[in-house]
């Protein structure tokens, strides 16, 4: 190096070089996170696509209790999101249920305003032969455990007591009322009752809310029956028919005759995307050709109307809870009318009918946005999109289908939009998107401004299921591992910035999750309005 050059070298320059060296060292550390790793994100057609990053959660998610069922695990547990500690759990085996499959659940708001002091929730269980669908080398049937005490379809009401940090079974609503149902349990937005349904029986029940040692009462119950035009099973729904909605009546003892497996049309539940197996004759059962697939009933946040969804019939009855009568039938199928009149055809028992020329494809999970002016409904298997309804009118007969959420990947049967939820501010809609094994399922984010996909979280986990949102508007938690004994957990991302937060361990083959509301105003963001 020449003397002249040396003289030009100043402290500042040396610092510059030193700083460059240090920056280089830092950069070297950062390069390992550049393209080619799981942090990579890309944009396609204006949609941000990001692979899920398998990392733990390093921040508190707030003072909330996260309730998750364990499906084949036979119980449910509550996790404190602030500390990520399990607060308490319950296992229905311990109460004499010889085959509980803890399926869906929903919590009522805490009467004290503080769920940590105590709250109650409703948990449906599957049962019967459903345990045989997973290839378990089990002797449960040989031992008679699927008979009297293992028929399933229990609706358990459970209390969590913050003083003792324990959960206690308060009531088996199916035993009290004779209505045994095993799928979606959805509390009313005012928290004064709940609906429960079952697609194996085609029955939905509306129940009062009991507290403590009080007993639950049936407000009303309906059964849906399909009367097909064609006698060929493969054409049962595609060739059209009539839906008959019948109001059920209790027997002389005040109980209904739908306890346990009584009334099952199918021996096994229709797993998600398994609707077409029924028309292919691959699902055993007493009367699959009459199946409507009535397996959920959720509520308009404005608290007057509910929608009872009929998976096989491509839509749902809008039920006025003030009169407990159907008002109309809304349909998601593209190419068919969106709103169908309902005709009362009998008073003994009260029976209503809707006749459809055809059913293009089954529907599945559905949800109202928090303000109640929109309803979204999955069109699965054949259409594979999401119907969006404008439900701003006070009269459901004026509710109109306005658009469809579509994505270029939603072709054929899979990947298919599944469970739905909304951000607390209503600006975004979260869809879990199912992919078949060995694929891992995704989460899509849709803007409710124009109903376009804006972000995709890919490879989230096996069978992503329902999403729960924290009521402060910060986090969304997606539970996964729905149908089988595989990996499970909760994937967490920010509702506002859509940044990934990480994964929480969560034991069980989940099919549902809910964050316990602390006040009645939070019910509409809870499992009341979306499934």
């Amino acid at each position: 190096m020449s003397k002249a050059h040396l003289e030009k070298i100043s402290r500042r320059r040396f610092f510059s070089y030193g700083f460059a060296g240090l920056a280089g060292l830092t950069g070297a550390g950062l390069t390992r996170y550049l393209p080619g790793t799981s942090f990579a994100a890309k944009k396609e057609d204006g949609i941000l696509i990001e692979d899920a990053v398998y990392q733990g959660i390093r921040e508190s998610l707030g003072k909330y209790i996260y309730l998750t069922p364990q499906k084949l695990g036979g119980g449910t547990h509550a996790v404190d999101l602030g500390t990520q500690k399990t607060l308490a759990w319950i296992s229905y085996w311990n109460y004499g249920d010889s085959c509980p499959i803890s399926h869906h659940l929903a919590a009522f708001y805490a009467d004290s305003g503080d769920p940590y002091k105590g709250f109650e929730f409703i948990n449906s269980t599957q049962g019967g032969d459903n345990v045989l669908m997973y290839g378990l080398k089990t002797k449960i049937k040989e031992h008679g455990m699927l008979d009297q005490y293992g028929m399933g379809n229990h609706i358990y009401r459970v209390g969590y007591d913050g003083k003792s940090n324990q959960m206690e079974l308060l009531e088996d609503v199916s035993e009290t009322t004779g209505v045994g149902l095993g799928v979606h349990t959805v509390p009313f937005p005012d928290g004064q009752g709940f609906a429960c349904a079952d697609g194996q029986k085609d029955v939905v029940g509306f129940f009062s809310r009991a507290r403590g040692q009080d007993k639950t009462k049936v407000l009303t119950a309906f059964r849906g029956d399909w009367v097909p035009n064609s006698k060929v099973l493969a054409e049962t729904w595609t060739k059209g028919g009539t839906i008959r909605l019948i109001k059920l009546a209790p027997g002389k003892d005040g109980k209904y005759d739908y306890y346990g497996t009584k009334g099952n049309k199918l021996n096994y539940e229709m797993a998600p995307m398994a609707e077409l197996l029924v028309e292919k004759g691959q699902t055993p059962g007493a009367s699959p050709h009459t199946l409507t697939g009535l397996d959920f009933c959720l509520h308009d946040p404005r608290n007057r109307y509910s929608i009872a969804g009929l998976r096989m019939c491509g839509g749902g009855f809008i039920i006025d809870r003030t009169s407990m009568e159907p008002v109309c039938y809304v349909m998601a199928n593209e190419g068919l009318a969106d709103n169908w009149p309902v005709k009362k055809v009998s008073n003994s028992p009260d029976t209503w009918e809707v006749t459809l020329p055809s059913v293009g494809n089954p529907i599945h999970e559905t949800g109202f946005n928090p303000s109640g002016n929109h309803l979204v409904m999955m069109n699965n298997l054949r259409a594979n999109n999401v119907a969006v309804f404008d439900t701003s009118s006070d009269d459901p007969r004026a509710w109109k289908r306005i658009t469809f959420v579509k994505d270029k990947e939603w072709q054929g049967e899979y990947p298919s939009p599944f469970h739905v939820n909304f951000s607390i501010d209503g600006s975004k809609c979260f869809f879990t998107v199912l992919r078949p094994k060995p694929m891992k399922s995704d989460v899509y984010v849709v803007s409710t401004k124009d109903w376009k996909v804006i972000k995709k979280f890919r490879n989230v986990g096996v069978d992503t299921q329902t999403t729960a949102t924290t009521y402060d508007g910060k986090y969304a938690l997606v539970i996964f591992s729905g149908f089988q004994r595989m990996e499970s957990g909760a994937f967490v991302f920010r509702q506002d910035t859509l940044e990934q937060v990480g994964y929480m361990p969560n034991f069980g083959g989940h099919h549902d999750c809910v964050i316990v509301p602390s006040k009645v105003e939070e019910m509409k963001y809870s499992r009341s309005c979306t499934v």
Binding site: E7, A28, T283
Partner: protein
């Protein structure tokens, strides 16, 4: 004037052994552009905690905080740090200048860290130092500067990224009255020129007397109070003639424009040795990085290819069982199907190679089978429409596990090798799937199956039942 900072009902509670302590309680304050607000209070009154909350260095337990309309409490840590680095200037109670850097380097540092070019960062730093009367002392290290001069460098550093809000924590503490006046005068001028919003916490009246509004903080609570009268020293200084800042000590001042100092000016051989070491290390490191970068590119390209093949295998290739037909002689005709989920990307597979098992006494017994087309040795393109792969197997075991009475529990294992090209080369990926079904024993009638399972008369008895993945 627009509102720069809007804080409502801020509270901060620290847990302590004998109960929690509310350092800040229900504090609401708004600051407009060009406004100078002072918060006075005794030591321990919560001033510094409030400053940390307002500067988004700490999170409140309650309340809301907006800076230029942005809800700071809703931002992710990364976005919050970015906003702090660009919109807020901090001057802390301690100078916290880096001792190994000159005044100029210290002042330029925020700009360099924010990604500005050296030219930009250093020119602005030099202008600020000149403005603050430190133009002559740009090359001095902090330990060569007086307390007041160090404060001025700190102030230059806080102003380097042209913030909208300047937060000052005891900016004039431990300064003599003259130095204090120097800092205050500059702050007032900057506020007027740049419409800078300034919030200062202090326990002295001198600073407060210059503010537009003065708040008193006591036991974590804030109350608007009257401005204290200016002290005598201030009025005497205002009348003082001559430049605001004292001149640099004799021998350090220069009439010429500052220029980088030559190596020969360096005082310590240790510094020279250290800098040489850094230079040598950075040169070696740069060479190493170039080689590593080149090798990394090659490695990355290979990994990317592997990733794409994996993506095809796991996200683009759909494969599942399609149909089973059991004949009375025990022959079962079956089909798998293959489908490409993304028509924009072609790919090919070798296979599938299919194995069939039946469950007996809990173990999986292999079943004789054959593919109709010898598919396991064939390379085929997987297309967007379903392609059926027929295969047959022979099944009439004397004994088998009946998870459902009258049904075999069958496992089909399919293995495929996936490639992006027809001429398999580079990274290939092997995918193996297991499918499970219940297959009706063809020797039993539908009525026998119903009887065995207790299914009601007329029940549908499927020839085979698909099972969820397990």
């Amino acid at each position: 004037m627009s509102v720069i900072l809007d804080a409502q009902n801020l509270s901060r509670i620290y847990p302590a052994r004998r109960g929690s302590i509310a350092a800040v309680r229900q504090v609401s304050i708004g600051i407009q552009s060009g406004e100078f607000v002072a918060i006075c209070g005794r030591s321990g009154s919560g001033k510094s905690t409030l400053m940390a909350l307002l500067g988004a260095l700490a999170r409140p337990d309650h309340g809301t905080l907006y800076l230029e309309g942005i809800d700071l409490l809703q931002l992710s840590p990364r976005k919050l740090a970015h906003l702090r680095a660009h919109r807020i200037g901090f001057m802390l109670q301690t100078n916290s200048l880096l001792p190994g850097l000159t005044a100029l380097d210290n002042a330029a540092l925020p700009g360099l860290l924010a990604g500005e070019s050296q030219h930009q960062a250093y020119s602005r730093a030099q202008k600020l130092l000149t403005r603050l009367g430190m133009g002559d002392r740009w090359d001095a290290f902090p330990n060569e500067l007086s307390g007041g001069q160090q404060r001025r460098v700190s102030l230059a550093r806080a102003l380097q990224h042209e913030p909208a809000l300047l937060l000052l924590d005891e900016p004039t503490s431990n300064l003599d009255p003259l130095a204090e006046e120097e800092i205050l005068t500059v702050m007032r001028e900057l506020r007027d020129e740049r419409k800078l919003a300034i919030l200062a916490v202090t326990h002295g009246n001198q600073l407060a007397s210059l503010a537009d509004r003065v708040f008193q903080m006591s036991a974590g609570q804030l109350a608007l109070t009257e401005k204290p009268p200016a002290e005598t020293v201030r009025s005497s200084l205002i009348q003082r003639q001559g430049p605001v800042f004292e001149k640099a000590p004799q021998g350090l001042a220069t009439e010429e424009k500052p220029k980088p100092a030559p190596v020969g000016d360096w005082r310590g051989p240790a510094s020279f040795f250290l800098a040489s070491l850094l230079l040598g290390a950075s040169l070696l490191y740069s060479t190493d990085r170039i080689i590593a970068w080149s090798q990394g590119r090659q490695l990355w390209a290979k990994q990317e290819k592997k990733r794409i093949t994996e993506e095809i295998a796991f996200r683009q290739l759909r494969a599942d069982v399609d149909s089973f037909e059991a004949k009375g002689d025990g022959n079962v005709h079956a089909n798998l199907f293959l489908q490409n989920y993304d028509s924009s990307r072609r790919f090919f597979i070798l296979g599938p190679s299919i194995l069939v098992f039946v469950q007996t006494d809990g173990r999986w017994d292999s079943v004789p089978q054959e593919t109709t087309e010898g598919s396991d040795t064939k390379i085929r393109e997987v297309i967007p429409t379903k392609t059926l792969i027929p295969f047959q197997f022979q099944l009439l075991p004397a004994k088998y596990d009946e998870l459902i009475r009258g049904y075999f529990h069958i496992r089909i294992t399919s293995t495929m090798v996936i490639s992006e090209t027809k001429e398999a080369q580079g990274d290939l990926f092997e995918r193996q799937d297991d499918y499970y079904i219940y297959l009706k024993d063809p020797r039993l009638s539908a009525d026998e199956i119903r009887r065995l399972n207790g299914w009601v008369s007329g029940s549908v008895v499927p020839p085979w039942i698909a099972m969820p993945s397990h």
